[in-house]
Symmetry: C2
Subunit: 370 residues, 2 copies
């Protein structure tokens, strides 16, 4: 028996999560385990009513679960950043979910926008660092704060550029990214371990030729970790070049390890080459703590309640959740049932079909039970 | 008569620049102007011999030219970052070339890797900010410096995360990005002016939902500039989503304005959808100072001297240079001659042809003279 927390969230979040839970319950019947779901009411609606994002109490309670199954957040009535930082990133950071795992795999029967590429060409995993880099939320505006911290950054900037920023003639915003040696090490170890169970290739993504301070450290740690995994072939790449290769030569990749912000960018590109956001799952993993699984798409408010969106990303995220709980066979079974459902043509509008959200969930569940 | 500085640089740089100069001279014959070239010996070779990157004297001399025609830099014997920061970025920053202009246009006769897309779908311009953001080169490592600036960043970080970084138990690197209000304004004005001469649409790229400090300012300024251009339709996008749309719906874009680092990433992706790096030109523009034009690819050391690489990116960059000098008709003529050369099948290996680098330059020049 597993206890799993469920957060539907905003927009289409609740309806796609329902399909995911349905499929995971069916997997339980087939592979002989039970999931006890506990729903948490977290999202824009409550924030607009009460001003609460995720409370300390909720964080404490959630930290008692091995896994959280997450729909999506985002609401047009809330300023960009509030929900993302106050809920999604808050949980990633609080639970120290330092691995963001994103399989980029073209399922059989799905069209990629890339000419001449098929499922045999697009099958890799991005391991995105998930707690550091430019996501730490340190930054400010010069003319909006009197805090002492700012004076120094202001000095740094004026010394460097000979600007008289003291005069307040100019308004400047800054943002700081940080990487720690240990933060790099642990996510890279995860990537290399994963590669050892796959094709034994790891590509690292950075921009060390320009952002030399953070990504210089990243490269240093990479070369140490690589030294501990002699059987794995490696490559150092720049983020700009990687976007080209994802499009031109996706077959080159096996495991890609990337700092947080570049990981955000390249995994969305990855989602597109695997057929679109409706098909892209993600796991936020703390190997010894609470992990969280979600589709990587947003809350798509305009489709809310219509029952037309594709639940496959969420169902696949559920497979990652099962894998994380140790139910490897069930996880594989879910992915196969997804492929079977696509083969049977039970797909939503984004994939050219006419099925409703619940039809897809029902069909995947039925194939599993068979 | 125009005086133009020429810097061949490293690897294949000199040979592709030769083709570019050849074509621009032919354009001069046809459209009745003269270019006086002055070559500058700047690059890895000299750096390895003398330790000099670009000298203050050279910067001063170069600042007397309206335009620099630039090949490429990069050498395997030099640590990543040295040449990029010491030569290329040095010139972009010194000459305050605040616009990095990158046309993403699929020329007739070129294959894009995107299924079902043609020249009518891929024709937009990216206007990349070129002097600020995470490219300012401010950052350091905690355990490698005693400078006072570091103490404060260390404080910022330890306060935020409750880490005892004073103890030196952990090594941390940081990197700071800065945007100024004026820096945003001027590049956005450039983008809107450009859009008014095109399809009157501007998309802005940022990640304001996470890097809220710098990109919050970016959005604020964007909404002001947009207010001054009521005839232009606008859209605010996140960088992760933009990479998807470049692949799925490139036809949505007319002018894209982006901060420096995201601009680096999306323009390489753009280069790929327009057929590859061999076809992607860039301009580094200071509308009232010294501007610099270059192919966006690197120095490809392994092809050096073989005469096989594609000079089209460089020749096209030459067209941007002519346009910048006010020779609009000649600029258009060069692009047409490039398309004619592709139509005539005089293309290099990367485009499936057998022509040598010089054959392509010769053919473009011949078509121009006709
Ligand atoms: C919603 C946003 C904060 C988030 C991110 O940037 O990490 C999303 O884009 C993702 O990739 O999961
Ligand atoms: C070489 C490098 C410093 C440069 C950049 O990052 O700007 C290049 O990638 C470019 O896009 O012109």
């Amino acid at each position: 028996m597993y206890r799993v927390a469920a957060i539907g969230g905003d927009g289409i979040g609740p309806e796609i999560l329902d399909e995911g839970k349905k499929v995971l319950d069916a997997a339980g019947e087939k592979y002989d385990f039970d999931i006890e779901w506990t729903d948490f009411d977290i999202g824009a609606e409550r924030y607009l009513e009460t001003g609460e994002l995720v409370t300390e109490e909720e964080l404490k309670e959630l930290s008692g679960y091995p896994a959280i199954y997450f729909g999506s957040i985002g609401d047009d009535r809330v300023k960009p950043g509030i929900l993302e930082k106050g809920i999604l990133l808050k949980m990633r950071f609080s639970f120290d979910e330092y691995v963001n795992l994103r399989p980029i795999r073209l399922l059989h029967g799905i069209q990629t926008p890339l000419a001449g590429k098929g499922p045999e060409d697009i099958d890799f995993v991005v391991v995105r660092e998930n707690t550091e880099d430019f996501y730490v939320g340190i930054g400010s505006r010069f003319r909006q704060s009197e805090k002492k911290e700012l004076e120094v950054v202001r000095d740094l900037y004026s010394v460097k550029f000979g600007l008289d920023v003291e005069s307040d003639a100019e308004e400047i915003a800054y943002q700081i990214g940080v990487l720690s040696r240990e933060g790099c090490r642990r996510v890279m170890e995860y990537a290399f371990d994963l590669a050892e169970r796959r094709q034994r290739r790891v590509a690292s993504v950075d921009k060390a030729n320009v952002l030399s301070d953070v990504y210089g450290l990243w490269r240093e740690v990479f070369s140490e970790v690589e030294g501990r995994h002699p059987g794995v072939a490696t490559e150092l790449t720049f983020v700009d070049a990687v976007t080209m290769w994802f499009v031109k030569n996706p077959e080159w990749f096996d495991v890609v390890v990337t700092p947080n912000m570049f990981g955000d960018i390249v995994t969305d590109l990855g989602a597109m080459i695997q057929g679109g956001l409706g098909l892209a799952p993600g796991g936020n993993i703390n190997p010894t703590g609470t992990s969280m699984f979600e589709p990587i798409h947003g809350s798509a408010p305009k489709y809310r309640g219509l029952g037309v969106v594709n639940p496959i990303a969420t169902i696949w995220a559920g497979a990652l959740l099962l894998d994380h709980l140790g139910e490897h066979e069930a996880a594989e079974g879910v992915v196969q049932a997804i492929e079977g459902t696509i083969r049977d043509g039970v797909v939503t509008r984004d994939l050219g079909g006419a099925a409703k959200t619940a039809d897809v969930g029902d069909h995947v569940a039925a194939l599993l039970r068979r």
